[in-house]
């Protein structure tokens, strides 16, 4: 029996996109296998590692735990959209300058998670940065250089402390 499909329309990195997909497909499989956007990484496949992080309506989500059919009508940003967005260039450059990239497999997810977090917390301190990326695993760097990268980007943004998020911290 042919699996049930549905046509969805969503904004992918700022451009409208329509595609017919099985309703059980994950957003990660849609991006990588159907649309060929392999910057979003498949690693654990169960929400433990954050390598597949994407932004959906400006919220960071694990695309491996998201039904692609639920993207209908939403705005999706992947690392390919970040890479061609000039406003993201300083954040990416901060990762390069700090040596926060070794094998690079976790990097797209970390850049997207940092982008999402800094949008609400442009004056975050190192403790807040560590908590923000706790859903992203890196098996190379020991995290210090990643935290250095995000912290140096925060320093360059130079946003006054008062704008920091007041959310309670563990």
């Amino acid at each position: 029996m042919k699996p049930l499909t549905r046509e969805i329309t969503f904004a992918l990195n700022g451009r409208p996109r329509s595609v017919e997909i099985p309703v059980t497909l994950s957003a990660l499989d849609l991006l990588r296998d159907v649309l060929g956007l392999t910057g979003t990484k498949y690693a654990c496949g169960e929400g433990e590692c954050g390598a597949c992080t994407i932004l959906v309506d400006e919220r960071s989500l694990c695309s491996c735990l998201l039904f692609a059919v639920d993207l209908d009508g939403r705005a999706v940003t992947t690392i390919e959209g970040i890479a061609t967005d000039d406003t993201c260039a300083p954040l990416i450059q901060a990762f390069v300058a700090a040596g926060a990239v070794q094998c690079g497999f976790c990097t797209p997810g970390l850049v997207l998670q940092a982008r999402h977090f800094l949008a609400d917390n442009p004056a975050a301190d190192r403790t807040a940065i560590k908590r923000a990326i706790e859903g992203n695993l890196c098996r190379c760097t020991g995290y210090q250089k990643i935290i250095d990268a995000v912290a140096s980007h925060v320093a360059a943004l130079n946003v006054p402390e008062g704008r920091q998020d007041a959310r309670p911290r563990r």
Binding site: V23, R59, D70, P168
Partner: protein
């Protein structure tokens, strides 16, 4: 590597825009509900759960996305995400124990998708929001279509969980909200979760402690445990050992012995039954000393 059972596929897919439409979609009792999807996708793709005939995506129902306080009752819509709970001023001010649990929930990426209703309906014995909701005397509201009318009923949370992944929600029902009575003045609440890494861990044990705290005495005591029984449970004997008593060394000692005896954990991949019991004992003692010193 063991091969996983094959995933089945639903025969229909619906996206209702209101509770009314959703109740229609569920009325034949042959539907699987999709909200945040973080549990459902994994369970279906790993073959441990089958789709029913219709996949009903309720994530677009706006009326299920609000948190409100009217009179002395909070109403938290089923689609409120864990992130929204964590950032809600109402929750942080009046229900801090819920914010504490939300803060210990998985990771930012999962908190952004996972919903309160989904955490309740998934009914994992280790679900992080469940012990604090039990300790807050929460009730859940279930809606369904009966005789062409939308009917709603309320179920106290301590009667909602029937077993691992089994609840009192019927196949034609939809969990629409969780309701919580406004805690009285001097209400005290603490959530503790034990895991091996701060983020993403499934709880080895969790404890919620709540009550009115005055002069080192707790009244209206609520103690709830996660991951020590087939369902999240109220620890009623421990509550009785604490009710109205001054939190001195003797009372705390009796209460933590009672808590250890009351927990009935199993051994699994995350911890042995013995370790879980010892952690209930130790962490309950820590929570009670904190309350005594608060």
């Amino acid at each position: 590597m063991a091969t996983l059972p094959a995933m089945n596929a639903p025969a229909a897919y619906l996206v209702p825009a209101s509770v009314d439409e959703a109740a229609d979609a569920l009325s034949d009792g042959e539907a699987t509900l999709l909200a945040g999807g973080t549990d459902l996708l994994l369970q279906t793709h790993q073959g441990v759960r089958a789709f029913r005939r219709t996949l009903v995506n309720i994530s677009r129902i706006a009326e299920l996305k609000t948190i409100s306080l009217s009179g002395d009752r909070f109403r938290i819509g089923a689609l409120v995400t864990i992130t929204e709970l964590l950032h809600s001023k109402l929750v942080c001010q009046h229900l801090p124990i819920l914010a504490q649990a939300a803060d210990h929930f998985a990771s930012d990426q999962i908190r952004n998708a996972a919903t309160v209703g989904g955490n309740l309906c998934n009914a994992s014995p280790a679900g992080d929001m469940l012990p604090p909701l039990l300790a807050l005397d929460a009730t859940v509201e279930l809606a369904c279509r009966k005789d062409h009318r939308l009917q709603r009923r309320n179920v106290p949370l301590d009667q909602f969980f029937l077993g691992p992944r089994r609840t009192a929600m019927a196949a034609d029902e939809l969990l629409t909200a969780v309701e919580i009575p406004l805690p009285p003045a001097r209400h005290y609440g603490r959530f503790f979760k034990l895991g091996t890494r701060p983020a993403l861990d499934i709880s080895i044990i969790s404890i919620a402690l709540a009550g009115v705290l005055e002069n080192r005495q707790l009244t209206g005591v609520r103690v709830a445990f996660g991951a020590v029984a087939p369902i999240p449970v109220r620890a009623r004997r421990t509550e009785a050992a604490l009710e109205g008593r001054t939190l001195d060394a003797e009372v705390i000692s009796t209460a933590v012995e009672t808590a250890r005896a009351e927990a009935t954990p199993i051994s699994d991949i995350r911890a042995s039954a013995w370790y879980r019991s010892e952690m209930i004992f130790n962490m309950m003692r820590r929570l009670l000393h904190e309350a005594a010193d608060a």
